[in-house]
Amino acid sequence: MDFYLAAIVQGLCLVPMGLGIYITMKIFNFPDITTDGSYTLGAVICAVGLTHHVPLSILIPLIFFGGAIAGTLTAWVHTRLKINALLSGILVMTGLYSINLTLLGRSNIPLLAYTNLFTPIFDINPLLNQLVITASMVLLLICGLSYLLRTDFGIAMRATGNNEVMVRSLGVNTATMKWIGLALTNAMVAFSGSLMAQFQGFTDINMGIGIVISGLGSVMIAEAIIRWFATEKIGIHLLFVAMGVIIFQLVLAFTLSIGIDATLLKLLTSCFVLLIVALPTGNWFSSLKRFY
């Protein structure tokens, strides 16, 4: 049981990242690969901060800020230098790897010895404590985002990814919108990375590799649930994204528990995402039939 509970907590740690990907992909229509770098960046800032005994009240804003800077860079490359969205993200992500390594000083820092967000105040089961903390943070984040996306500013944000021509013709500077959007989502991704580092007890320079894929997979699962329930409420969409992230982690936990080699985990992840992405199109069997 603890094994699956840990998978759920791990999922909850990744929810801010999933929400970030959902907002860039589905709301801004911007495939943001910066995620891989900003996720590690969050974990790195967290590790450096904790080992230097920076209080959490300063460290957490710092983590958000670091992610926001990464997003700003991508937005700048994309909107000012007119570089393709995918390429801008890849460029910033690649650059971030060196920055992360420089900040971290070595490739791995253990964090178990330091007081962090998950250090229990009361004497309870540590896993339960983590569950309560992450769940309440995620809930807070979803409430905040769902409010933001329903405001006038949020409507303009959503319209930017939906119909850029129209939004500009209504007097919105779409470049600024993308900048704010990417800063916001990468800040959330960085926060996710820091939660993960504290949860697993270490920061590793490679922990961000492929994180965007698991985020995408989670968003795809969420999309399927959203289609299933056919709801237009943005808050519910965000809640489903959170569910998607957790389901994704549970599936991974399940594959591990049935004894599949951990080295194959990334391969399985990408196969799993492929499956989710390809299932709705549903042309598999008709194309097979043509062969016979």
Binding site: R150, T151, F153, A156, V167, S169, L170, E232
Partner: protein
Amino acid sequence: MLNIQQVTKTFFLNKPNEIKALDNLTLTINSGDFVVIVGANGSGKSTLQHVISGNLEADAGALTLDGQSIGNLPDYKRSKWIARVFQNPLQGTAPDLSIVDNFRLAALRGERKKVKIGTDQVFTHRVQEQVRLLGMGLEDKIHQPMGLLSGGQRQALTLLMTVMNDVKLLLLDEPTAALDPRSAKKVMELAHELIQKYRLTVLFITHNMKEALTYGDRLIQLANGRIKRDLTKREKDILKPQDLYEWFNED
């Protein structure tokens, strides 16, 4: 009101395929004018609208709107005064947003989009009353996504969205070209009604000769980036469709 002074726009400058889309064009549009613009493909009609709206920057010349120079402003800043309805009905609205959200954006044209919820009951009611005027039964569907509506409905709503606040100039770029005849008629009638009611200044591009004769109080023919004819309402009223067809066969 809108003053276009010797505006020139060239594409592919100094290349073999150089095109002078606007050639030293000067045009003054007075407040309350409903100007119809006709011309063959490539005569510069769309370029003219794009230069006015700011999607394209003119190579030379000056643009003033109510005495204010707007030639150097980006499109999203000009859209405070200039509203557009596009040829493609899908371009004027955001498909995944609800009707009421689309109207909210239109109502905030050129204003700051604040971090507060603006689609409250008062606003929803206002949109409902506006949409009811269309007689399309959409007033009960204002929380549905725009993408579920037909092209004609979306174009009608786009028009309605332009009058959610004071705009000085309305640019209509073949708004009915992608619609079936019945929807086209309905959209044009609505446009006419709104233009009269709100006393809008309009620049209306069309390839439909019947529309060109039915609507507007001034008719301009563009050819090779210049104004070839500029007819007042009186001159326009005595025109027949054949005359217009002959204009197009002249070159």
